[in-house]
Point group: C2
């Protein structure tokens, strides 16, 4: 199924834009030309939600879960678009096909749109917009960092509280996360974990956080995105007979854990080896983290939750 | 002084684009064609600061104050651009000249930029970007609403705390403010005021808030933008012999005040007449609010803090 309105003559040949392709206003364009209106409230008010699904070896991974969350996020912000799941799927596939990429980072975005001339200046009066793009695979933490284990800090900057901006609605309010990334860099670390105002662990910039304590995997039960990769981790734990639960974690729980790892669509299971300078698991990925990471990719090769992309 | 790199043949004639003009990547374009890259972290991470100055009857108002705050905001986010104050001023004037507008809303924006291919995925490695645009005058509250007094609510949604995202660095993290705007609309009100997590008044979506209590003007001393119009209000109070101060205000202080008004660049001094359904000042703008509003515009006509735009 082709979602793009371009005529056959205009449509890009499969694989024409390996650096990335985007769907903007009903047309596929190379990523370098992909732009949004400067007046879109998605930019000027960060009034926007999005989701990211990955393509691995030619198949979308857990596409249905990402579409379900994206739809829920739009509903949560009172955003509506004409495209349903089938149309979105077709647009995402069109983007991937235009890149020809077998491994890709694929984003779907819904913005509030620009204020309509002559209408009241309230977001309720805007026509919402859908955008999408596919890029070459992105690693939030590169493979060499995953192999040695990431060096994390617990940031001083607290996460934006859920009652101000709901973290389960995937959003671009990254001011706190960006500050934490600079804190990490200033400390000579790779990345950061943020606490809520009560001192409990929430998440990092673009990933869920997990601690292994007394052989059980624990991830925060609040203040964090309900990650699709987090769900995969919980399913893998069940399969492997590793106890796993969502619960509260303090910074000290994390520092005293046997292992710490992170999880995200753009990276999978990513082990840490240091936190605030403390060395975990003998300065390398711990055994449970390593096992989950290995199994996560092995399952991809077995076709787990895979939706093949039609590249022709 | 002309800041735009376009050749004379390419440069728009003065007044060519009355609907708005923007400066994008060194070129002036009509506002309908003004777009930013979809991969700019200014969009995908709301990693951006901005400022808005107005032009009234052909002159910028308090341009130096806006440039000073914009520069401080960039410094606060570790953003750097090649343009200094003189170059920014020339670009803003070019935008206004291209519209021919005597009354205009003029924005300057600095974004983090897009991640650089082949460099680490950290915002420290991005080339930051400057954008600007001029639009026909925008009223955050239209004149008829100002004349009857705005109907406000105290929102349930709390403002994002300053230790997560600093409100004195002007930013697009409007998730909480947008929620509050929907709360206001659902309640049949015009607009909203947000509290911090301790119950103190902060600000509204794009404006500072003031209460008149026992003849004195009070505006929150924390959790709010250090508004340039707020500064004008304080100066006008001094001139008119009205006691004024920054201090703490609770929701009840606001509800029990003699008068309430709001202030912003895109609207000036904007009186309220109701808050949470309670009627203030006999359901019309109170005398001190009305006097400040009148004097604010009168002073504009007298050339207060004015920098004339060269329209030729």
């Amino acid at each position: 199924m082709a979602a793009v309105e371009q005529t056959l003559d205009e449509r890009p040949a499969p694989g024409r834009w390996p650096q990335g392709a985007a769907w903007i206003d009903g047309h596929l364009v190379p990523i370098g030309e992909a732009r949004i209106p400067i007046l879109d409230l998605g930019f000027t008010r960060s009034d926007v939600t999005y989701d990211v699904v990955h393509v691995w070896r030619g198949s979308f991974f857990r596409l249905a879960d990402h579409l379900k969350r994206f739809t829920a996020s739009m509903r949560g912000l009172r955003l509506t678009i004409e495209q349903g799941d089938a149309a979105i799927t077709a647009i995402l596939a069109d983007c991937v096909r235009a890149t020809g990429l077998r491994d890709a980072y694929v984003a779907m975005i819904c913005t509030r749109g620009a204020p309509a001339p002559g209408k009241p200046r309230h977001p309720a009066f805007c026509a919402n917009r859908f955008y999408a793009y596919a890029l070459p695979w992105v690693w939030v933490m590169p493979p060499e960092m995953q192999a040695r284990g990431a060096h994390l800090i617990v940031a001083q900057t607290p996460r934006i509280p859920p009652d101000s901006v709901d973290p389960t609605i995937k959003n671009y309010h990254w001011g706190d996360l960006t500050r934490a990334l600079f804190e990490a860099r200033d400390a000579g670390a790779d990345n950061a974990v943020l606490l809520d105002s009560d001192g409990y662990v929430t998440e990092g910039p673009g990933f869920n956080v997990f601690a292994v304590i007394d052989g059980a995997v624990v991830s925060p039960d609040r203040g964090a995105l309900e990650g699709v990769t987090r769900l995969s981790v919980l399913e893998l734990c069940a399969e492997l007979g590793i106890p796993a639960r969502l619960g509260r974690l303090t910074a000290d729980d994390l520092r005293n854990a046997d292992e710490v790892f992170c999880a995200t669509t753009a990276g999978g299971v990513m082990p840490a080896s240091r936190i605030d300078g403390r060395i975990l698991s003998n300065d390398r990925p711990g055994p449970i983290s390593a096992r989950l990471r290995e199994r996560y990719w092995q399952k991809h090769d077995e076709g787990w939750h895979a939706t093949p992309v039609d590249y022709d």
